[in-house]
């Protein structure tokens, strides 16, 4: 089986046919559609619980969840390198003090 066949098998449409025997009572496709919203804490509590249950207990979806979480952590970590330069911080403070002095004079 090629990886494209595997992809089609993995993602075959089952929308509108939630099965009680599937984690969270939702299909893999439904969980996939809401993966980002779940990671971003954008779902209502009921859906958040269902999607979370599915993603964390489904043997097929869980690896994808871990993969996306690893990606998110890498981006978040990289962002910490863009803190404001110290000289800019000093310059901003100075400009605010100057502006304050001008407005009060």
């Amino acid at each position: 089986m090629t990886w494209t066949d595997e992809l089609r098998r993995l993602l075959r449409r089952r929308k509108g046919q939630p099965r009680n025997d599937e984690p969270g009572g939702i299909s893999c496709e439904e969980a996939a559609e809401r993966l980002f919203e779940w990671l971003d804490n954008e779902l209502d509590p009921n859906m958040e619980e269902r999607v979370g249950t599915h993603l964390e207990t489904c043997a097929r979806c869980y690896p994808w969840l871990v993969f996306e979480q690893s990606f998110r952590e890498a981006v978040s970590r990289a962002a910490q390198h863009h803190d404001v330069p110290p000289e800019l911080r000093d310059r901003i403070i100075a400009s605010l003090e100057e502006d304050e002095g001008m407005s009060s004079s």
Binding site: T2, W3, T4, E6, L7, R8, L10, L11, E29, A32, E33, L35, F36, E37, D40, N41, E42, P63, W64, V66, F67, E68, Q69, S70, F71, R72, E73, A74, V75, S76, R77, A78, A79, Q80, H81, H82, D83, V84, P85, L88, R89, R91, I92, I93, A94, S95, L96, E97, D99, E100, S103, S104
Partner: protein, 204 residues
């Protein structure tokens, strides 16, 4: 500084956001010098308009909005903006098929995505910087600054649905870019099945 702002909370609320505003300014301007000017002007404007801010509300969003408005006043991005909006408006009919492609391309060698953590931070930032403006803005505001969709929508003056769409597409582009980099650098072994470029259209 004394900074006797109208209610005295400017130092407590606004100034701690300087790193975040600078990061957002960098994502807008793509140039450190211009980002510094933009950050400084943002805080000056915020200081002068502090009486219009309700203490204890969404300070980061308020500052980002000032920052973006000032940037747009200075920069003519209309043409590029329209192009990207038109591009983003095209719904991807193969959304789900495309959604997992980087994951599927990588899982034969690194199913948990450990290679993400081995990509140097500078390369991640470079890849973010090279995203088209509208994708970069939402990725920055969501993944770096962790703002909710609604606040991002208000800052960028677009519907929440557009935020979701751009976020999805921006992340996918970023993943493809970084995955290709990881393969080229040997950070992740080349799969026998695919490169990211192959994975972009599994139907072919």
């Amino acid at each position: 500084m004394s900074a006797n702002a109208p209610d005295g909370s400017f130092q407590d609320e606004a100034l701690p956001q300087m790193d975040a505003v600078y990061r957002f300014a960098l994502s807008l301007a793509r140039d450190p010098d211009r980002a510094q000017d933009l950050t400084q002007e943002t805080f000056l404007r915020a200081f002068r308009n502090w009486d219009k801010y309700t203490p204890g509300t969404r300070i980061k969003s308020w500052l980002f909005t000032i920052c973006r408005n000032h940037f747009l006043q200075r920069e003519e991005r209309t043409r590029r903006h329209d192009e990207i909006v038109a591009d983003a408006a095209e719904e991807d009919p193969n959304r789900i098929s495309r959604e997992a492609t980087v994951f599927l391309a990588a899982r034969g060698r690194d199913p948990e995505g450990e290679f993400w953590s081995r990509i140097v931070d500078g390369e991640v930032l470079r890849a973010i910087d090279e995203l088209p403006d509208e994708f970069r803005d939402v990725v920055t505001l969501s993944d770096l600054e962790e703002l909710p969709y609604q606040e991002i929508a208000e800052i960028l003056e677009v519907p929440v649905g557009t935020v979701k769409s751009r976020l999805y597409r921006g992340r996918r582009r970023l993943q493809h870019e970084l995955y290709d980099y990881a393969v080229e650098q040997g950070i992740i072994g080349r799969s026998t099945q695919s490169s990211s470029a192959d994975a972009k259209d599994p139907s072919t």
